[in-house]
């Protein structure tokens, strides 16, 4: 029995062009040979995955799909099931059971794939976290950064406030504890808890469902408070809403309220004085939270100043004088810092950092950079920075690069696919141009992570002989060092690479985004120390 023959039979089986003789041959082999059955399932899986991929791309084809603000299909409604079973069916093959698991646990993270234009990235997001204050979400992700994209799914806000912008234009304010579900770009569902929604004219028709009724917005502002038993209170703050319970809709005008009891019976009331979460409340709490954050950050900064091995600390706080000359200096506030260790700002402008009140430098143009000078040779190094990467337009995007690339010098940058890369020049660069090594993390800066504040760190540990990358305090990769050599930074640049005029033609590696903190330690920080740097 040779494999080529089995390949032949299986290919024809999956293309449904087996002759009766060939089918009998395949049948015989499947019945008698366990390894054939294994190969069958492997090929079957590929066949099913290809079909699944094809189906999903078909489903995401805008031309074949209802418009963006379509009526959402709930999971068990006909339209959805039809689409669902189309691809799940293939997975089943003759009786491929994982498809049934897929039914009960659809994998949200799998993006629609396309056979037609595979180069194009896709997203199934329908809403975005616009703002949140003191928000604690249900595990596993208890914190969510502003800008987090939401695909349809459940959200459980345990406490705090959050504003969610649906892509149709409606904004929903959630006040924890609340159990909410995003159904589509135009519909949400509140199982329990308090929320309010603000609906601009473009989003008229925006719906919020509750266990006992559905509210259809007519371009308004309204609040809902749903109890765990399903009863709820509605208050129309501005404009008008329609209340649907199966029969004719009831129009609730401005200032009116309604109460729906556990049996679903409606009684109209004058709007009470219940408080609903709104923009004003969010703003006030946000301002208080920002002040707390700033205080906390300052305390952390003072602690850091006493940390052993702190070589350079740029907290990115601007200082001003009358002539404005101080504004072009990035102060190194590490203990014992000399004047020569401050950075010189070229091009980059001061802007807002992680929160209002925190300063940052905005890197955008080809000429935006900070010149730094860090003399010395080091056995180990830790680099930490807080950045907001807005785009990765270049083949390599600079964080911190030494001017040249001589033995022991380092280049810390980001690839277009979002891998963090630390390059270390090897000992024999002069004789062997390939004497260097890039230590790459997995691709972590996916498009949805762009435009958000993140914290990056890299630890070069010569005693353990390894390089580790960190994202937001978590180690994301570790790789053994390819060679030992003392490390050097010397003359270097933040956010750009101009090679100090050593080449006439310069590669473009400018950073696109903001930086609001940078620390360099002359030792390898432990994982927990890196995590503690995070803020």
């Amino acid at each position: 029995m040779n494999d080529a023959r089995l390949d032949f039979l299986l290919d024809r089986y999956f293309d449904e062009i087996l002759s009766a003789e060939e089918c009998a041959e395949l049948d015989e082999r499947i019945r008698t040979c366990p390894s054939t059955r294994k190969v069958f399932w492997e090929r079957q899986r590929l066949h099913a995955q290809l079909r699944q991929m094809g189906q999903q791309s078909w489903g995401s084809n805008p031309a074949a799909e209802v418009p963006a603000c379509e009526k959402p299909a709930t999971f068990f409604s006909g339209a959805h099931r039809k689409k669902w079973h189309r691809w799940a069916a293939l997975l089943l093959g003759s009786m491929l059971i994982p498809a049934l698991i897929a039914v009960f646990a659809p994998r949200e993270s799998l993006q629609p794939l396309s056979l037609l234009s595979v180069q194009e990235k896709t997203s199934r997001a329908v809403a975005v976290l616009a703002q949140s204050v003191d928000a604690v979400w249900e595990a596993p992700e208890t914190t969510k950064a502003e800008g987090t994209l939401f695909t349809p799914g459940k959200l459980h806000l345990r406490s705090g406030l959050a504003a969610i912008d649906f892509f149709c234009g409606a904004r929903v304010f959630l006040q924890g504890p609340v159990q909410f579900e995003i159904l589509s770009t135009t519909e949400g569902f509140c199982l329990s808890g308090k929320l309010s929604s603000v609906v601009p004219p473009t989003a008229v028709g925006f719906k919020i469902g509750t266990p006992k009724m559905t509210l259809v917005d007519k371009g308004t502002e309204f609040g809902i408070d749903v109890q765990a038993d399903g009863s709820c209170l509605v208050r129309v703050i501005k404009g008008e809403v329609e209340l649907h319970q199966g029969g004719a809709p009831v129009a609730l005008p401005e200032g009116q309220g309604a109460a729906i009891d556990t049996r679903g019976i409606l009684s109209q009331t004058k709007a009470g004085s219940e408080e609903f979460p709104d923009a004003q409340q969010l703003r006030l709490r946000a301002a208080a939270a920002e002040r707390r954050q700033m205080e906390e950050w300052k305390r952390r900064r003072d602690r850091l100043l006493a940390a052993p091995g702190l070589l350079t600390y740029f907290p990115f706080e601007s200082h001003s004088n009358e002539s404005g000359s101080l504004e072009r200096i990035l102060f190194n506030e590490a203990p014992g810092a000399t004047f020569a260790s401050h950075g010189a700002i070229v091009g980059a402008r001061w802007a807002e950092g992680r929160w209002p009140g925190k300063r940052a430098l905005d890197f955008r143009a080809l000429s935006d950079l900070v010149r730094i000078q860090i003399p010395g040779e080091f056995d180990s190094l830790t680099l930490f920075t807080s950045v907001r990467i807005d785009a990765l337009p270049n083949p390599l995007n600079a964080l911190l690069l030494t001017d040249g690339f001589d033995p022991g010098e380092i280049h810390w940058q980001i690839t277009p696919s979002g891998e963090l890369r630390l390059g270390i020049c090897g000992p024999h660069r002069k004789t062997d141009p390939k004497s260097y090594k890039n230590y790459d993390s997995p691709p972590v800066l996916s498009p949805e992570k762009l435009g958000r504040w993140i914290q990056l760190a890299v630890v070069i540990d010569q005693s353990k002989g390894q390089v580790s990358h960190f994202l937001n305090g978590q180690r994301i990769s570790v790789e053994p060092l390819a060679f030992r050599h003392s490390l050097r930074i010397g003359a270097a640049e933040l956010g750009n690479w101009n090679l100090a005029d050593s080449l006439r033609v310069k590669p473009i590696r400018h950073m696109n985004g903001r930086m609001d903190e940078l620390l360099i330690f002359s030792r390898a920080l432990r994982d927990e120390e890196v995590a503690a740097l995070g803020y």
């Binding site: 049948d27 590929l46 009786m95 498809a99 039914v103």
Partner: protein, 148 residues
Amino acid sequence: MPNFAAVDDIMQETFLAITRKAHTFTLGTQFMAWAATVARYETLKVRRREGKKAHWLSDESIEALAASHADLPAESEAQMRALELCVSQLAPQAKRAMELRYQKGHKAGEVARIMGWTAEALYVALSRARAAVRVCVERHTAAQEAAS
């Protein structure tokens, strides 16, 4: 069951049967075993209804396959990502054939007609494309596992 439409039907029936009776089961191994039984039963039912077809496997083979299915390693997301990448790297004509077959859901004969190829030429193209994708996915998945 290689036929897309037939599998659609089986899944539909299986799904309905399962949702009708789901309240009597708790998720877990028992449920999976039960769901497998339902699916197998529906498969055999469709086969009986459609009558014996030349390219169908025997009931015995189906049973043997069902019994060996659990040995298959879990499907990973890395695999699906690799699959996407690998399909994108196919030569244009091979990609077109795969697209017609898997995205549009055409039968092999229809794909051959649309592309103006003979059935045999198309068969060779599809087998080669699948083999190329298979090798490519294995390489990428192995590389990813090694890297993590």
